[in-house]
Amino acid sequence: MKKLLVIIFMVCWGCETVVDPGIEPDDASLVLNSIINPDSVIKVNLSKSWYVLLDEREQFIEGATIDIYEEDKYLGQLDHDGFGVYTNSNLVPKKGGNYRIEVSKEGYEDIFSEATIPQRPALISKIKIDTILSDGIKRLKFKVEIDDRVGEDYYEFIIFGYNRNYEFNEETGTYLLIDSVNIPIWSETEDLIIDEFQREGTNLDYVFSDNFFEGKKYSLSIDPGIFIYDTSTPQFTTVTVVLRNVNKDYFLYKRSRLLQDWVDGDPFAEPVLVHNNIQNGFGIFAGYNQTEEVITVR
């Protein structure tokens, strides 16, 4: 398709001119990213936006005041923990709770947002595991049966695993485990309930709604990148299948963000506006309630 563009511009015989269209930089705004859940303390990452023509990734904001309210009742303040991360070890959100966050920092407009944690976690009724041969190597394939409740629900699916790294000991001629890091595992899917742009290539996580299986059971097919090369040095011994019941803001944010990444560089694609629920600023304040199933890899 690049040739099509070449032809178009060839036809225009390169008569473009370059001028400054006079677009002025916007003032920076506060950016708040926080996904809360009933299994961990509230943690917020605070940064600031930057003008699109600049390349300034490290934009932590320190010294901000962050107040948390639960059902309009003041809960407490978050403390800065370094690199723009704010937390409070006493503040653990509860299922079904509605939380309001207010952030103020001198030189910026105050920002605020609200998030509700889904009352009930998502339900996994069954996981079927198949072993398939992929280019001669064994690979696991999951079918995760979701038990959807009546009503509008949004989900996020992730597989975590402790990735085991080994070092070869030349003296003993064996491999030694040197570390084990819990990471989300890349996976693939061709399941049609997943948007086409999420089905392309590999992903760490998938978001989807229950539009196509409202109130019913549905088996989601996932091919995680879990290969079984050698039983003496397994990449994973267990993995954790995580299904999250996420709120609508989270779903819209995640989906639009993945879509924006996906179309990056396509000159014919319509611009994607990423969902934002931070008043006077940018980012996301949302919640989830999750279910985990640990799978032994063999």
């Binding site: 001028v19 600049l54 996301i284």
Partner: protein, 784 residues
């Protein structure tokens, strides 16, 4: 509402019919033509000089006027032609076929022209004489009908140089562009920079942007009714031009006493000029280029004074291509490979029309048409490796094509019982076949694959009834209904569309007009980027995607001053529903996805006011147009459901045009346009998102781009001055003319699009790309 319209129409018809019963009347009918060429004059004025009762000729030059028995002086007039007065004693039905003579020195003669603007019930209609269109300055000297229409109020151009029309906030698909009654789906050549209409083959152009009479349907925003010439009835004539990028030739003349023909052809030759340069630069390995051509042909046969048949056709194609081939010998093997990439698109239309005059008051026309638009992007790759062991061949071809094909039949009737009624009714049916984007892959190494959306057939039907009623000397009403249906995928959509236009003439010659039109459109155009790519997809309404509908109200004032200046002011409000747009992130490049999964449906509204002052006669002709308008869209799943400006929402749009005839040999013309900049979506800032690391979320990932509101940034305003001067000279064999012109005379850097680029020092910056600086042109034309 529907019952009200039915009752009103019936009541007015009955009342008028009773009034006519008591006087003995006879009908004068016939055809009005150009005396020298025999070409029909559309919209010529015929009236009784005593009481100004009259009518106008239709699209075939036919007129019918029923008056009480009496002696009278009948006037026949048309813009640019010398009026003819006929004295007759009307005591029986009379046929008068009359030829009017065009005049060179228009200012020396009193011209009545067409029916004056304040007289007609129809509002929001503009006729631009084809001679005026041809006299206007043109990009690269190539006269373009649609570009001239862009200079009219209420009509906006799309991007720089393109022929797209955006009428009263509507999209480019909402224009019913008819060439001899046949819809043209893609009216663009050269990626939208030129239209497919060769002005030398055209007789008349009418544009309607509101208050649509019931006889028109199928589109929401405008009707552009273009009529081809019939061909000279008197002798063989020709005209042509040789320009910088193209040449054209038109021949017309009589085959015998009853038959005439017209043939017109045009071709660009950028490819022929550039081919040696590209070959030289690539040592003969590569060929690339672009050309377009179009052919118009028409044959007319008059079987009798009652029956005429017209056969017309249009064939046009654009071809952009690049071919590369290479041979080499490694000593071990000989390799030959060839790669060809191309983009082809074009229209074919054909029409057969049969006029039959049942009696002097009753005229009919049967039209059978075929229309096809198709584009094809393809790439063919061939590789041949010859080794001592044999020859290995690898062939691959990939093709992405889309298009629409129509077969249609239409029967129209015109019944003119008396000067107080002009009744039209008819039916039509169209069989559409849509190819909404199919990818075909063939390879000697892999199995053949076909992806995309498959063919869809649909049938569209319509019937209409309208009457142009003179209720009193001051009050005229055009009332009608248009009923249509669309049968697709076992779904039947129906639509009942009332139409009403009212004109009240005040004693000072000022008329007040109002209109209401409901329109339904069963087909959609899915367009990407707005740069007039031929890859835009024509699509049907389906079970998932409903038809488009609009309601338009217009109110206006019209007056002719000093018989020369037509002035109109109109205000309008238009609501549209069922509009489609690509989803955020969707692109026509995602060809393995069904088109219905890539679109959002939503609503639109547009409103504004237009001022139009036109002078059609005299040494100086031209117009001033001003539009103040707003056009917005609202889609539940775009821009977070918030209303946003349409891409071509243009607050102010001004055009000033003029053609001055210095003397018989020299004409000067100019056009200045100004428009508020287009709305675009532009990245404004960036910020960090979050991502997972371990089992907790974290700052990171690609930064998120914040675009602000959809179409929230307004590009700089657009303005341009075009100028041309032509020198004509009478020769023994005919007339020759040299035309020298400049497009964008003061070389404004008008915005085409904005992108992010880099400074020399590596920093990023916004860059506004412009297409055309000053473009001079020279062309030579001739006429014999």
């Amino acid at each position: 509402m529907q019952n009200f319209f039915r009752a009103t129409l019936l009541g007015i018809c009955l009342l008028s019919a009773f009034q006519e019963l008591y006087a003995q009347k006879f009908t004068i009918s016939g055809y009005i033509k150009d005396k020298n060429t025999g070409e029909v004059l559309i919209g010529a004025n015929i009236y009784n000089k005593e009481n100004y009762q009259g009518t106008t000729s239709n699209n075939y030059g036919f007129y019918s006027l029923t008056l009480p028995a009496d002696s009278m002086k009948l006037m026949f007039s048309y813009v640019g032609y010398q009026s003819v007065e006929v004295t007759l004693n009307l005591d029986k039905d009379t046929e008068i076929n009359i030829g009017l003579e065009d005049v060179v020195a228009l200012d020396e003669i009193v011209i009545s022209g067409r029916e004056e603007i304040q007289e007609v019930t129809q509002m929001s209609k503009i006729n631009v004489p084809i001679a005026q269109i041809k006299a206007m300055p043109a990009l690269l000297g190539e006269v373009d009908v649609l570009k001239v229409l862009q200079l009219l109020p209420g009509i906006q151009s799309g991007t720089e140089g393109s022929s797209g029309l955006y009428v009263r906030g509507g999209g480019p698909d909402q224009n019913l562009i008819l060439l001899d009654g046949v819809p043209i789906y893609n009216a663009s050549h050269l990626f939208g920079f030129f239209s497919v209409f060769n002005a030398d083959a055209i007789n008349n152009v009418d544009l309607i942007k509101g208050g649509f009479p019931a006889r028109y349907g199928g589109r929401l925003s405008s009707v552009i009714d273009i009529t081809m010439k019939e061909g000279n009835h008197e002798k063989l004539r020709g005209e042509g031009a040789i320009g910088l990028i193209s040449s054209k030739l038109t021949l017309e003349g009589p085959i015998n006493e009853r038959t005439t023909f017209l043939f017109s052809g045009r071709r660009t030759y950028i490819d022929l000029l550039a081919r040696p340069l590209i070959k030289a630069a690539t040592e003969g390995d590569e060929v690339a280029g672009y050309y377009f051509y179009d052919l118009n042909a028409k044959i007319n046969h008059k079987f009798s004074n009652r029956d005429r048949v017209y056969l017309s056709g249009y064939f046009g194609n654009d071809d952009a291509y690049s071919r590369y081939k290479e041979n080499y010998d490694t000593g071990v093997e000989k390799v030959f490979y060839e790669d060809e990439f191309g983009l082809d698109w074009g229209n074919i239309i054909a029409a057969m029309r049969w006029n039959h005059v049942f009696n002097p008051k009753f005229f009919s026309n049967l039209t059978l048409t075929y229309s096809r638009y198709r584009f094809d992007i393809f790439e063919n790759y061939k590789e041949e490796r010859t080794t001592p062991n044999g020859v290995d061949n690898e062939d691959e071809s990939i093709s992405y094509f889309s298009g629409i094909r129509d077969f249609a039949a239409k029967m129209d009737f015109e019944f003119i019982p008396n000067p107080n009624h002009y009744i039209r009714f008819g039916i039509n049916g169209i069989n559409h076949t849509f190819n909404p984007g199919i990818l075909s892959y063939k390879s000697t190494l892999e199995s053949d694959t076909t992806l995309g959306s498959f063919k869809t057939s649909a049938n569209e039907f319509a019937a209409y009834l309208e009457d142009d009623i003179k209720v009193t000397d001051h009050l005229k009403v055009n009332a009608g209904i248009h009923i249509s249906a669309f049968d697709v995928e076992d779904e039947l959509y129906t639509s009942f569309q009332p139409r009403l236009a009212v004109r009240y003439l005040l004693s000072n010659g000022l008329s007040i007009k109002g209109s209401y039109a409901q329109m339904t459109q069963f087909i959609h155009l899915l367009t990407n980027g707005g740069i007039g790519l031929p890859t835009d997809l024509w699509l049907p309404s389906t079970r998932k995607v409903a038809p488009q509908e609009s309601h338009q109200f217009a109110f206006g004032l019209a007056k002719t001053i000093k018989k020369q200046y037509e002035i109109s002011v109109e205000a309008y409000y238009k609501e549209m529903d069922g509009l489609i747009e690509y989803k955020e992130g969707a692109s026509f490049l995602n060809i393995d996805e069904d088109w219905q999964e890539k679109v959002e449906t939503g609503r639109g509204e547009s409103y504004g006011a237009e001022l139009f002052v036109q002078k059609k006669t005299g040494k100086f002709t031209g117009w001033v147009g001003y539009t103040l308008s707003w056009s917005n869209r609202q889609f539940d799943n775009l821009n977070f459901g918030r209303s946003f400006p349409y891409k071509y929402d243009r607050r102010h749009d001004i055009s000033i045009t003029g053609v001055y005839k210095v003397n018989d040999r020299i004409d000067i013309s100019g056009a200045w346009v100004y428009g508020t900049g287009n709305s675009i979506t532009l990245p404004i800032s960036k910020y960090n998102g979050f991502r997972y690391e371990g089992n907790f979320w974290f700052r990171g990932g690609n930064p998120i781009t914040y675009h602000g509101e959809r179409n929230g940034y307004r590009m700089r305003s657009y303005h341009r001055l075009d100028f041309s001067i032509s020198f004509s000279k009478q020769k023994k064999w005919g007339t020759r003319k040299w035309t020298i012109g400049t497009y964008n005379t003061y070389s404004t850097r008008n915005p085409f699009f904005i992108d992010i680029g880099y400074h020399k020092n590596g920093g990023k910056k916004f860059i506004q790309y412009s297409l055309f600086p000053i473009i001079p042109s020279i062309s030579y034309s001739f006429k014999f």
